[in-house]
């Protein structure tokens, strides 16, 4: 009996080693099923999965669409509970440190060591823990710029602003004709609606100046010089009525676009797929959008920043067999040319550096933005994006900032007092 047990153990160990050895080199005809959670379900379900199935036809990938906030809330609960997580998920950079701290994600360091230099350093740092282990594969990058309506700028003779002073001047000019420059909701509500609106705006403006919400020790620094400058810019836009008081993504917001009353949107590379999904042909907005680099705070200053961007992560609780399938999907999507091409075509700027110089990717255009080669500009901005700290407390300070924004925008508090109060609350 003992001998049989020993033989069995040896066989099991050999089998296991065999499995390990072939992990990553998954047979193309492997059968299996995968589940994933994401808010960018159109991208994954309608673009990437079909492309993936051309290579692995027998792996069925089910995508559960969820709202942006909900996806992360559910992942947090699933990790804390130890079960209930999908096989893999898209996780935004704001939240990934939290899940790493919870110990819920699979270590990807070995896998990524085979792809050295293929992803921007700041992206890998965002998914790393203190010891340098990386827990997610960078999926898409989100370099920020100014999406603007070329037709409105031409109509009113507005030059592309190079600094924020010029941007405000352009806003004042447009106001005379009843046109808004960007939108800032004075009372931005649910986080998922504002994270890519008001709170996100303040974040990337602060990041653009190489500022941060946290210092090196991880303590909040919400009233830093850079944060105040960013908030002052937003407060000016609101107080002078230059920015429309509508919530990003609301029906009123798109109506302003259709009426040609919204001239610019400061947002990231992925905004192209928002435009494509919401603006229909026949709208005057269609085909008239262009992308330009962010204005600088000071002449010659940084014109690069980031807003969002996600990673693909596998959960510790995912069974080994499914984890291998998930790895195949992630591998295809993030580190093959075909996967990255499809991803870029959907309208998200992939984080894989080799794709940025691929002629097909560089020459991609969208009817929404005429003949502009968006990926070319994104690739220019991405290497210049300043680092940005997003420790586990990041979403908490975002919420505190959001609450203080209303006080500042309606004039109950000055920018200094509003941020000082927010800092006091965050440091509590």
């Amino acid at each position: 009996m003992k001998a049989r047990r020993i033989v069995f153990c040896i066989c099991a160990a050999l089998l296991f080693c065999g499995v390990l050895a072939t992990a990553g080199a998954l047979d193309k005809n492997t059968k299996g099923e995968l589940t994933n959670w994401t808010w960018t379900n159109k991208c994954i379900d309608e673009w990437l999965v079909p492309a993936f199935n051309k290579v692995y036809p027998n792996i069925k990938v089910t995508t559960v669409p969820m709202a942006f906030d909900e996806t992360h809330d559910k992942i947090f609960a699933a990790i804390a509970a130890g079960s209930g997580a999908p096989d893999f998920a898209t996780i935004v950079s704001d939240y990934v440190q939290k899940f790493i701290a919870q110990g819920g994600l699979v270590d990807m360091t070995d896998y990524l060591s085979k792809h050295k230099g293929e992803f921007p350093k700041y992206k890998l740092e965002m998914n790393s823990d203190k010891s340098g282990h990386i827990f997610g594969v960078p999926f898409n990058s989100a370099p920020v710029g100014m999406w603007y309506r070329k037709d409105i700028f031409d109509k009113y003779n507005i030059k592309l602003p190079q600094t924020y002073d010029e941007y405000i001047a352009a806003g004042r000019q447009l106001k005379k004709y009843g046109v808004y420059i960007d939108s800032i909701s004075v009372a931005a509500q649910a986080m998922d609606r504002s994270t890519h609106g008001e709170v996100g705006l303040h974040a990337f403006l602060t990041q653009q100046q190489s500022g941060s919400y946290f210092d090196a020790a991880g303590k909040p620094t919400l009233d830093s010089k850079e944060s105040r400058r960013a908030m002052s810019l937003m407060a000016t836009l609101v107080k002078e009525g230059l920015a429309a008081n509508v919530e990003n993504g609301s029906p009123a917001y798109y109506q302003l676009m259709d009426e040609s009353k919204l001239a610019t949107v400061m947002s990231a590379a992925w905004y192209i797929n928002v435009l494509v999904n919401y603006i229909k042909e026949g709208s005057p907005a269609f085909g008239n959008w262009r992308f330009a680099k962010l204005p600088a705070f000071d002449k010659g200053g940084s014109r690069a920043s980031n807003l969002g961007g996600a990673e693909l992560c596998i959960f510790k609780q995912t069974p080994k067999a499914k984890a291998d399938l998930a790895m195949a999907f992630i591998d295809f999507t993030c580190t093959t040319l075909e996967g990255n091409k499809v991803h870029a075509q959907y309208g998200e700027f992939p984080s894989w550096i080799p794709s940025w110089t691929n002629p097909e990717v560089v020459n991609m255009t969208w009817p929404m933005t005429g003949d502009q080669k968006l990926n070319k500009i994104f690739a220019e901005i991405e290497p210049l994006v300043p680092a940005w700290k997003q420790p586990p407390r990041y979403t908490e300070v975002q919420k505190i900032l959001q609450a203080s924004m209303n006080d500042i925008f309606v004039g109950d508090k000055t920018v200094e007092k509003g941020l000082a109060d927010a800092q006091k609350e965050a440091a509590r």
Binding site: A80, K98, A101, Q102, A187, Q189, A252, E396, E425
Partner: protein
């Protein structure tokens, strides 16, 4: 005789205990266990990364002495309660009396219509009200504009956010309160009304001297239910305003949810839960006392 006590009692009435057991089992698993777990958690710090850290009363100390947001949310809930509950219950009684009147036509139609908001999901109502109360394109402001009035910032002004929530809550719960009052009314013997009419009482006097006092137990029940419901309000502020602008419509439970699941301060959230429990307990206990005592003095048959 006392010796044979509990075990004997259970065996004698085994079938009865079997019938009532399911409720207690379910309560024990889904009610009691989470409550006890939560209570214990409130004495620890836990952020779902690391193990629980015992901090004794630190959470309660921080909440009561260091946390302005907690007090703001408590005040918000009180404000929402005072503006909404007493008028709504009174209005419910008045409408019930009107619907109970023999002169009222189409009673059933009205009763159904008033009850429809109650059976509609609060989530869908909140989403619709969110659109209706929109600053620039909402129905209400458009109508105000047509009438020549300036638009109101229903959800985007600190002064209005709680009032807008109250409007939603009243719209939803008025029908329910009315039906409860109606049921109470119909349990009042008509002979009492006949007697009062003979004594020469008019409608108003009948209402205040006969109807309301006899409805006291029903109204007491409504107040207690409304207290619990208002102080634990979550969905309406979550959908309509997410506690904003600023913290103007943040309720206790919304703050709890945010602390526990957005800020990952689960022990802190548990502390808020227990403080909420105490906050509800006080007025509820007072109300039970008040009405129970009064009831005892009502030995009318």
């Amino acid at each position: 005789m006392k010796r044979r006590g509990l075990a004997h009692e259970i065996r004698r009435n085994a079938h009865a205990y079997v019938f009532i057991a399911p409720f207690f089992l379910i309560f024990a698993v889904f009610g009691l266990y989470p409550i006890v777990y939560s209570f214990i958690l409130s004495f620890y710090t836990w952020n779902a990364n690391e193990p629980w850290v015992f901090v004794a009363f630190k959470n309660y100390h921080d909440l009561l002495l260091n946390d302005t947001v907690f007090w703001i949310s408590l005040w918000n809930v009180l404000y929402i309660y005072l503006i909404n509950v007493p008028p709504m219950i009174l209005l419910g009684v008045i409408i019930a009396v009107a619907l109970n009147s023999p002169y009222q036509r189409f009673k059933d139609f009205f009763r159904v219509t008033y009850l429809i908001p109650y059976v509609t999901s609060v989530l869908s109502i909140a989403i619709v009200f969110f659109v209706v109360f929109d600053d620039s394109r909402g129905l209400v402001n458009l109508l105000l504009g047509r009438m020549g009035l300036s638009p109101v910032h229903w959800l985007t002004a600190k002064k209005m956010s709680k009032i807008s929530i109250d409007i939603l809550v009243t719209w939803k719960w008025l029908g329910y309160n009315m039906i409860i009052a109606l049921a109470g009314l119909q349990s009042i013997d008509t002979q009492v009304y006949d007697a009062s009419k003979i004594d020469g009482a008019g409608t108003i006097r009948t209402f205040f001297r006969i109807t309301l006092p006899l409805l006291r137990p029903v109204i007491a029940f409504q107040f207690i239910m409304a207290t619990i419901g208002t102080f634990t309000m979550f969905t309406e502020p979550y959908i309509l305003t997410d506690g904003g602008p600023g913290y103007s419509s943040l309720t206790l439970v919304l703050y709890l949810y945010r602390s526990a699941f957005k800020f990952f301060k689960l022990g802190y959230g548990a502390g808020i839960a227990f403080l909420t429990f105490i906050v509800i307990l006080i007025p509820a206990a007072i109300q039970v006392r008040l009405y129970a005592e009064r009831d005892r003095s009502y030995t009318a048959t």
